[in-house]
């Protein structure tokens, strides 16, 4: 489920004047804030920060299946990292992840922008129907949608295979097993992720577009600018801040896509649809080479934190007061 929890807040933070009181009162307020924060602090420390440290420590050991039972392991220095960086499969998985992420982000953004623009041109009733449809696709849990996808693309009885055969363009597609072919499996998963990514993008961009000053667009049209030109030269620059936020979040989300790939193709055939997440999971929880999985996870965390850094800088630049 993609939810825009990290969206910039709608309200500019009003000037905080709570600390303006007498010195002793200020002290007690500070203590009160610390008290409110303590339980969350303890929980996040114990369940997130310490585990991340633990992950880093594990990546320097030879922790494996036997260690799970005996609890013993040896420190190996950077050995796991050397193994990972020398593994051609690791690099392939990383490259695959970048390409797949790019395909997802570009695809969902373009379709989302088109749908948002379409919504601005619709009457009330039709727009409600489109919104309803979008929200339905958005709300579907991705485990359920993955299961549904497998049924839609089922060799033999899948409705998509049947429809493609009826088109008489691709020949007989009835018995095509999508998950047994790298390209088709990626295409299938791409459609699945796009199906659920477009609603958030379309609805957010539609909302951003309706907030624009309509007279500006009318002016451009009276000046003889066509619809397409008006869109790219006036609407897009004006909603660029929203597009940037959505693009950043989409990059992070799509990089982390796991369930859909795992449930549709299991990363197969022969690991050719394994993105870095699936690759790591298989290392750690299928082969139980846990230390190796930890080392790759650390590398992934570094990549994602770099992306998050860019996102946070963007937020701050757009005037968000954290």
């Amino acid at each position: 489920m993609r939810t825009p929890s990290q969206r910039p807040s709608n309200v500019k933070a009003p000037p905080r004047r709570l600390d303006a009181g007498r010195p002793n009162k200020k002290l007690s307020q500070g203590r009160f804030a610390a008290m409110l924060l303590t339980p969350t602090g303890v929980i996040l420390l114990a369940l997130v920060l310490v585990p991340i440290l633990f992950l880093i420590v594990t990546s320097f050991t030879d922790f494996n299946q036997a260690s799970l039972f005996t609890g013993t392991f040896k420190f190996k220095g950077f050995a796991q990292y050397v193994v990972a960086l020398k593994d051609i499969e690791f690099w392939k998985a990383l490259l695959r992840t970048f390409i797949f992420t790019a395909a997802l982000v570009i695809g969902s953004l373009l379709i989302g922008m088109a749908v948002a623009q379409m919504m601005t041109k619709l009457g009330t009733v039709m727009r409600y129907i489109v919104t309803f449809v979008l929200i339905f696709a958005w709300a579907m849990p991705n485990v359920a949608s993955s299961v549904v996808w497998k049924w839609l693309f089922q060799p033999g009885y899948g409705i998509v295979n049947w429809m493609l055969t009826k088109l008489h363009v691709f020949g007989n597609m009835l018995n095509v097993a999508w998950s047994n072919n790298t390209t088709l499996a990626f295409l299938c998963i791409w459609m699945l992720v796009i199906w659920q990514a477009v609603p958030y993008i379309a609805i957010t961009l539609y909302a951003a577009t309706t907030q624009l000053d309509q007279s500006c667009l009318e002016a451009a049209q009276i000046d003889g600018a066509g619809h397409i030109r008006t869109y790219w030269q006036i609407v897009v620059p004006l909603i660029k801040p929203s597009i940037m936020v959505i693009a950043m979040l989409s990059i992070i989300w799509d990089f982390n896509v796991f369930n859909q790939i795992w449930l549709v193709s299991q990363g197969g055939p022969n690991g050719t649809t394994s993105t870095i997440g699936v690759f790591t999971y298989k290392k750690a929880f299928v082969n139980f080479d846990i230390a190796q999985g930890a080392a790759i996870s650390v590398i992934t965390v570094i990549i994602l934190m770099a992306l998050t850094g860019v996102y946070v800088r963007n937020l701050l630049k757009s005037g968000e007061d954290l």
Partner: protein, 297 residues
């Protein structure tokens, strides 16, 4: 930005003739857009439609060489087998226990933390906010591996408590960020006057802040519910016995005594998705509103 736009609009005097021309063109265009919108809707809703229709078809109508877009007979047999011939009820109970425990704890903690992080100023506040944001962006396996090792040592795997702790870690950072906008919307003057009246910080939190951010608490709870309810990876990794599975794991490994049974599987998908879709519909207004206003500054 709006100033420039006003200047642009004022510079143009709309003549009547230009408007009627624009209107006529607009009419044709609108018709075309409606057709495109309709096609889009049919394509986009089709997976949901096909799931529902398959779920309500009798067994012999599901696997046919020419698929029936509208079932000839409606039947509840798939729902019967999904509920009665599998461990559905047991897994439902697991899901409910784990999800609700996790969201009650995390939403309560998030409320307190969010109050501290938005209503008071102190050093390190920004660092904490960024840190919490970063926690949401972590890849799935980053927390899964260390949690698995530690919970394994402590004997928490295959038990509710392990999964509840993992879900709190997953949902709490997100809940704090989700509630933040609602806290920032409270006018600060209210607190000032309450303090002048002699209210203690606790009283302010209970009697003023809480009622004001109650909609935010509800919307956050729903999102937290959806996140935990939908989680597949953690439950799949931590819970080894089928009796301990949560619903997503149950759904992904769905088999009935009859073998792979797509009717039953689609009925199972409907049963699993229904609460999520209903809850999502209830709070979606908040998302649209929130992300709208913040987007264009």
């Amino acid at each position: 930005m709006s100033e420039t736009m006003n200047v642009v609009s004022r510079a143009h005097v709309k003549s009547g003739a230009a408007m009627t021309g624009a209107h006529r063109r607009f009419g044709w265009r609108r018709c075309g857009t409606n057709v495109i919108a309709l096609i889009f809707c049919v394509v986009w809703i089709f997976p949901v439609y096909w799931m529902t229709v398959t779920a309500f078809k009798p067994r012999n109508e599901i696997m046919t060489t020419t698929p029936a877009f509208i079932p000839k007979h409606w039947s509840l047999v798939n729902f019967y087998s999904a509920i009665m011939q599998t461990s559905f009820l047991q897994n439902l109970e697991n899901s409910v226990i784990v999800t609700f425990s996790a969201i009650i704890i995390s939403v309560f903690l998030a409320f307190l933390a969010c109050a501290a992080l938005t209503l008071y100023r102190f050093r390190g506040r920004r660092v904490i906010m960024v840190l919490i944001l970063a926690m949401q962006m972590l890849p799935g396996t980053a927390l899964l591996i260390p949690q698995f090792i530690v919970f394994n040592q402590m004997g928490l795997l295959n038990r509710y408590i392990g999964l509840i702790l993992a879900y709190i870690a997953m949902v709490l950072p997100f809940s704090i960020w989700n509630m933040r906008g609602f806290f920032l919307a409270i006018p600060v003057d209210i607190f000032e006057s309450a303090r002048v009246e002699g209210a203690s910080e606790w009283q302010i939190l209970r009697k003023i802040t809480f009622p004001l951010v109650a909609p935010g608490v509800v919307s956050t709870s729903v999102f937290a519910f959806i996140t935990a309810w939908n989680d597949y990876l953690t439950a799949y990794t931590f819970m080894r016995d089928q009796a301990k599975y949560t619903l997503p794991v149950w759904l992904s490994s769905f088999t009935t005594p009859a073998g792979t049974d797509f009717g039953g599987q689609m009925a199972a998908s409907v049963l699993f998705s229904l609460p999520v879709v209903v809850f999502f519909m209830i709070v979606q207004r908040n998302i649209a509103k929130g992300s709208t206003a913040g987007a264009v500054k």
